[in-house]
């Protein structure tokens, strides 16, 4: 009788024991992860490679980003990659993450605010302040940096490109690459297409060089966006005259 009662008690208490051990295991894992996260290394610019990896892994749940034209990106030296930026798409961030994963090099991006807690958090992702001197130091140090153009509502054309920031690349004597980004709010697929480095037909000695480089960048990105034909969602939304998701 007593053995029956004991068996019954075991059956009754088993789930409780399991739940307790599982909770302890989950808590232990969480503590271990927290410990790992707080002892990560940051590089000379404050970029946390482990944090970037986690964000990139997490972002792939939402976006399936493909990168083209990787052969134009230098393997060791610095380069400025200028991308078009659709509003709310965080194009420079995801372009930097995608290109970084494609070329297996840390890629930074311009555009972090200098205020806590957002600024330091973006610094962990590799963000730089939108200051010429900061960009120039990074490019001279052989870093790949993504710069976003002014925001636009659609993917059909790019916004203005800050020629003063492009001037940092001219001063640092590094390649300037155009890149077109394409994404849709309601779809998983996104694309980053990197073009060949911009070369001016006339060598300029003064500030015209960055102005003309910025103009060439804008024209090149617009041409690539034209080739891509805007974003097609595959839904009746595409038939609307102005659907705010990429096609007009």
């Amino acid at each position: 009788m007593s053995s029956t009662a004991q068996r019954l008690a075991d059956v009754i208490t088993m789930p409780a024991r399991n739940a307790g051990s599982q909770a302890a295991s989950v808590a232990g894992e969480t503590v271990r992860h927290l410990r790992d996260w707080t002892t990560n290394e940051v590089d000379d610019w404050g970029r946390d490679a482990a944090f970037v990896h986690r964000v990139w892994t997490f972002s792939r749940l939402r976006w399936a980003t493909s990168v083209g034209g990787v052969e134009h990106v230098p393997k060791r030296t610095g380069a400025l990659i200028v991308v078009n930026a659709r509003r709310y798409a965080l194009a420079p961030v995801f372009a930097a993450l995608a290109i970084g994963a494609a070329v297996d090099r840390p890629v930074r991006f311009v555009g972090r605010p200098d205020i806590a807690p957002l600024g330091p958090m973006m610094q962990r992702l590799g963000a730089l302040l939108p200051i010429e001197a900061e960009l120039e130091v990074a490019l001279r140090a052989g870093e790949l940096v993504v710069l976003g153009a002014a925001h636009t509502r659609t993917n059909l054309h790019t916004g203005l490109i800050d020629h003063q920031l492009v001037g940092a690349a001219v001063a640092a004597k590094v390649r300037v690459l155009p890149a077109a980004t394409m994404s849709v709010p309601f779809q998983r697929n996104a694309r980053v297409e990197i073009g060949a480095p911009i070369r001016l037909s006339h060598k300029r000695r003064g500030p015209l060089e960055e102005l003309e480089t910025a103009d060439h960048l804008q024209a090149h990105i617009n041409a690539v966006l034209d080739e891509m034909g805007g974003t097609i969602t595959g839904t009746p939304i595409d038939w609307l005259p102005n659907n705010w998701v990429g096609r007009v």
Binding site: V42, D44, G46, P120, Q123, V137, R140
Partner: protein, 323 residues
């Protein structure tokens, strides 16, 4: 280039003693003399030491002019709350800079001045460059930053007046065994405050690497400022976790109270260290590699690891009880 006479100010400190020790092994160095308020912290074979308190201008001028150095390595800089409170540190640094650099200007043989500065000179105001190179204009925002900026100004004025090269080594926070440092003391507290909202990265430099940089700079007779920092960076929370200390995240107004508590705990928090915990402090060291071939051996993470491995003072009981 042989038989060069080198004068080291601040030779009593750990950094100055190490620089003297390294210079003794250099073939181009003929004779070495040093000045400080405290005696050197290691055995030196061929270095002559003069114990002179900053402010004794007449004695300083006599010793320096009698020695008539070719190269002056000026390390006599007091970081606030490292060995002296801020006001005293400022006065000692000013006195030392004025008397030693002023006396050096009177020496006919003088060819080069190498001074100790700090990356605090760049300041960390809003919108300042995250990782400044030497081309970024100084804009100090802390007391220590203003102190080193003043030393650089003084040295540059003397250099241009008497026509000698002036090089400044802008050091990150120097950490090492026995190096008095406000940051080192703070990080070794059992519970360490840090900025919970920002936790930005900072860099340091090991004392041995800093000493080697001074020797390289003196040998090369540099004529420009150079950032001397260890590779890599670390945040305060990461440092605290490595040291197995208790992290105390702070978000703003409680910092004033915490400054008082750390002061009582024996680790006063000067404004440049607090600024570093709030805004971070990085610098680009590519130019030092180009100009003097400086390549630090210890990374920032390793310096912090070593900081926590340095043993505390161990009190050994007397072999024979006398009372």
């Amino acid at each position: 280039m042989a038989g060069v006479r080198v004068l080291i100010s601040g030779m009593g400190g750990e950094l100055g003693s190490r620089v003297a020790s390294l210079l003794e092994n250099e073939s181009w160095v003929g004779s070495i003399e040093g000045i400080d308020a405290d005696p050197p912290r290691r055995r030196l074979r061929r270095t002559v030491f003069h114990r002179i308190v900053p402010g004794q201008h007449d004695r300083t001028v006599k010793v320096v002019t009698d020695f008539n150095p070719h190269v002056v390595v000026h390390i006599a800089v007091w970081e606030p709350h490292a060995r002296a409170v801020t006001a005293t540190a400022r006065n000692l640094t000013d006195d030392a800079a004025t008397s030693i650099l002023g006396a050096a200007a009177e020496c006919r043989a003088l060819e080069s001045i190498v001074i100790r500065s700090g990356i605090e000179i760049y300041g960390r105001g809003r919108g300042s460059v995250t990782r400044p190179s030497e081309q970024v204009a100084p804009n100090p925002t802390s007391e220590y930053g203003h102190m080193v900026a003043k030393i650089e100004d003084t040295a540059n004025a003397i250099g241009s007046r008497v026509g000698v090269s002036v090089g400044a080594l802008r050091l990150a926070t120097v950490l090492g065994p026995h190096v008095p440092s406000a940051l080192g003391r703070l990080l070794r507290l059992p519970a360490v405050p840090f900025s919970g909202l920002a936790d930005p990265p900072f860099i340091v430099i090991h004392q041995h690497d800093a000493a080697e940089a001074f020797v390289m700079a003196a040998r090369a007779r540099i004529d420009e400022p150079l950032n001397i920092v260890a590779p890599g960076a670390i945040t305060a929370l990461q440092a605290i976790r490595r040291g197995r200390r208790i992290p105390v995240p702070l978000i703003g107004p409680e910092w004033a109270a915490v400054r008082g508590l750390t002061f009582l705990a024996g680790a006063p928090l000067p404004d440049h260290v607090q600024e570093m915990l709030h805004r971070g402090r990085l610098a680009d060291n590519a130019r030092a590699r180009e100009v003097i071939g400086f390549s630090p051996r210890t990374t920032t993470s390793d310096v912090i690891e070593q900081l926590y491995r340095w043993p505390s003072v161990i009190h050994t009981p007397a072999a024979q009880e006398v009372a």
